[in-house]
């Protein structure tokens, strides 16, 4: 219930203790301000890390081959392992129940690409239609390569948005022809990738076309899969880890590679990496909360301190009130309300200042690992809740002390 007299008393008391109130308010406000900024940046880090993983599907498994580092079954180390179509077909068949998207890829590193007088070097991938989903690419214009392109070994290309800007200079590329090492490919689509410019500087053509046109035979450079994700993230990580290990073992056997050779067959599991990074982000977030709460506690101790001083200074008044019929609860309520008000007011000031600052500097932060630092509504609500609890905690001991003072003792206080 709104009690104007109670509020008049609170303001009167605060007026009498201006400097202490200001300094206490400042410590609470700065505590909340620091907490909001820290939480904003922890969310920024989370967004940054998330966007790093958005380059590709989080549940992606990619397999590369290199040279053996250990001798095995009479074969010397340093032997080059070449992945082929049959490796891909075998794995796709064996793990069909667990895999969502799959693509074998043949890569042409820094291929010379021309359109009219414009030219540049870009990475060209001979891939399967699923690769669009594995790479998290969005088709902005036209379409991605399909089964028909693959079966007909069509000379079609899907170019990244950066290539469109570089070579076509505002012209519509769909239906136009680009030349890759002198072979003409018809542009059928333009894709966008959340990974940014680097990811948008590539060209996708059908795997069969790439192998035939660029002397690939049945060779492939890597294989990419995504795992079918169960509802539970941790179970997904476990499944992904098991498949990773099984594929690695199987490929090593197929290519006669020592089981402990870590150079010849490399299987990268995005999900496992994601879990590690997300765990790290969680730890960072926890540390930020810890530091923020610590600063608030310092502020709360300040409020508690000033309330103790105020109670001490008002001992006689408390005695008078008790003599006139004030019950202990009304004294407790008076002190608590004052403490909560000081904490809430200064805390809200810090909160608004912190949110305002994040709003202003958020868009200016240009860093791959910190993106859109901001505090969501729930977090802001949590900090307000923390403020009320903190204020009540700060006021509790002084209020308890005030309620316990015997009226006659309080009245004798000078």
């Amino acid at each position: 219930m709104f009690d104007i007299e109670r509020w008049q008393e609170i303001f009167e008391t605060l007026r009498k203790n201006k400097l202490q109130t200001f300094l206490t308010g400042l410590s609470v406000a700065s505590g909340i301000f620091i907490l909001v900024i820290l939480l904003g940046f922890s969310s920024g880090i989370q967004n940054g890390v998330k966007s790093q993983f958005e380059r590709d599907a989080t549940n992606k498994i990619s397999i590369w081959a290199g040279r053996t580092t250990k001798g095995y079954k009479g074969l010397n180390p340093g032997r080059r392992i070449q992945l082929k179509n049959q490796d891909f077909n075998k794995l796709s068949n064996d793990y069909a129940d667990f895999l969502e998207y799959e693509s074998a890829n043949y890569m042409i590193w820094r291929a010379l690409v021309n359109y009219g007088k414009e030219s540049n070097n870009y990475r060209v991938w001979g891939s399967l239609p699923d690769y669009q989903f594995i790479e998290n690419s969005d088709i902005g214009e036209g379409r991605f390569i399909n089964e028909s392109d693959l079966n007909n070994s069509s000379k079609v290309a899907v170019i990244g948005n950066k290539i469109k800007q570089d070579l076509f200079k505002g012209e519509d590329p769909i239906g136009k022809h680009v030349s890759i090492y002198g072979i003409n490919f018809k542009v059928i689509g333009v894709y966008y990738d959340p990974g940014g410019e680097d990811e948008e500087s590539q060209i996708y053509i059908p795997l069969t076309t790439a192998q035939k046109s660029f002397n690939g035979a049945d060779r492939i450079n890597n294989m990419s899969y995504t795992v079918k994700m169960p509802q539970n993230f941790d179970k997904g990580v476990e499944l992904s880890q098991n498949i990773t290990l099984a594929i690695e073992d199987q490929l090593k056997q197929m290519h006669t590679v020592a089981p402990n050779d870590i150079g010849a067959i490399r299987v990268n599991n995005n999900l496992e990496e994601a879990q590690k990074i997300f765990s790290l982000v969680d730890v960072i977030k926890l540390i930020f909360w810890f530091v923020g709460i610590g600063t608030i506690i310092a502020g709360v101790v300040g409020v508690g301190n000033i309330m103790l001083i105020i109670v001490k200074e008002r001992t006689k008044e408390i005695g008078i009130r008790k003599a006139l019929g004030a019950v202990p609860l009304s004294i407790v309520g008076m002190i608590l309300q004052e403490a909560i008000f000081v904490t809430m007011f200064s805390g809200m000031f810090g909160l608004i200042l912190g949110l305002g600052l994040l709003e202003v500097i958020g868009p200016l932060v240009k860093n791959d690992f910190i993106k859109y630092p901001q505090v969501d509504f729930n977090t802001a609500l949590t900090t307000v809740f923390i403020l009320v609890i903190a204020g009540a905690f700060a006021g509790f001991f002084p209020a308890y002390r005030a309620a316990k003072i015997k009226p006659i003792v309080a009245l004798r206080d000078e």
Partner: protein
């Protein structure tokens, strides 16, 4: 109105103990005006504080308006103080950041009375003590006599059964003391029971009965022919 039997009170300071009240037996009838006299340390203020439920006796019994006052928790004690008793202190004990009006309205606040009604009642009692022009003044803007009048109005505001005054003229000059006593006598004339501690014989003579305390014991309890305060003016 007040029945006290074999009341004892001691104060303990470390290993020392000071027996302040040593078996007080004492009754006050409704409408009486009694002064308690005695030298410093005789126990008169302690007795008044126990009657005012601001302090507690070690043993003995105290009945206020038929209600035994013993082992009360602070909430019940606060309610009894608010309902039965009005206090007038030597040092006025006004809240210095509240106006005369708000000071007088304060006991009514603790009775849960709405602000409008509180203000009306407070205005009535301030008018009764002749302070209508000073309603909105802070205590710091009032003279000693005016402050004590505000305190009297505050004591009357909750319409208590008994007024307890601890040296009500102790901080006032003689002329103002007479004025305040005249006011208190008038309140008694209207039927209010008044119990007053004083060490001034002239002031005690203005009540109807004087109880003398010495070393925690009542040595004399006799009626006096009340002297009207107006005679002194």
């Amino acid at each position: 109105m007040i029945q006290i039997k074999d009341l004892h009170k001691s104060y303990h300071m470390g290993s020392n103990s000071l027996h302040v009240l040593k078996g007080i037996n004492f009754n006050v009838k409704e409408g009486e005006m009694v002064s308690i006299m005695g030298s410093s340390g005789s126990g008169k203020s302690t007795l008044l504080n126990i009657i005012g439920i601001l302090d507690e006796a070690d043993s003995g019994s105290y009945v206020l308006d038929g209600v035994p006052i013993k082992n009360l928790n602070e909430k019940v004690a606060a309610n009894y103080r608010n309902k039965f008793l009005g206090f007038i202190f030597q040092s006025f004990n006004l809240i210095n950041y509240k106006s005369a009006l708000d000071n007088v309205a304060m006991p009514l606040y603790y009775q849960g009375i709405k602000r409008k009604e509180r203000i009306e009642k407070a205005e009535y009692y301030l008018e009764k003590v002749g302070l209508t022009p000073w309603l909105n003044h802070l205590p710091s803007e009032l003279s000693g006599g005016q402050k004590q009048r505000v305190a009297i109005a505050r004591a009357l505001a909750s319409n208590p059964k008994v007024l307890l005054a601890d040296e009500p003229t102790g901080a006032l000059d003689s002329k103002t003391s007479q004025e305040v006593m005249e006011l208190i006598q008038g309140i008694n004339d209207e039927g209010k029971t008044i119990l007053m501690v004083t060490h001034e014989h002239d002031i005690a003579q203005m009540t109807k009965r004087i109880v003398h305390l010495k070393d925690g014991v009542i040595i004399d309890d006799s009626p006096v022919q009340q002297v009207r305060a107006s005679v002194y003016v």
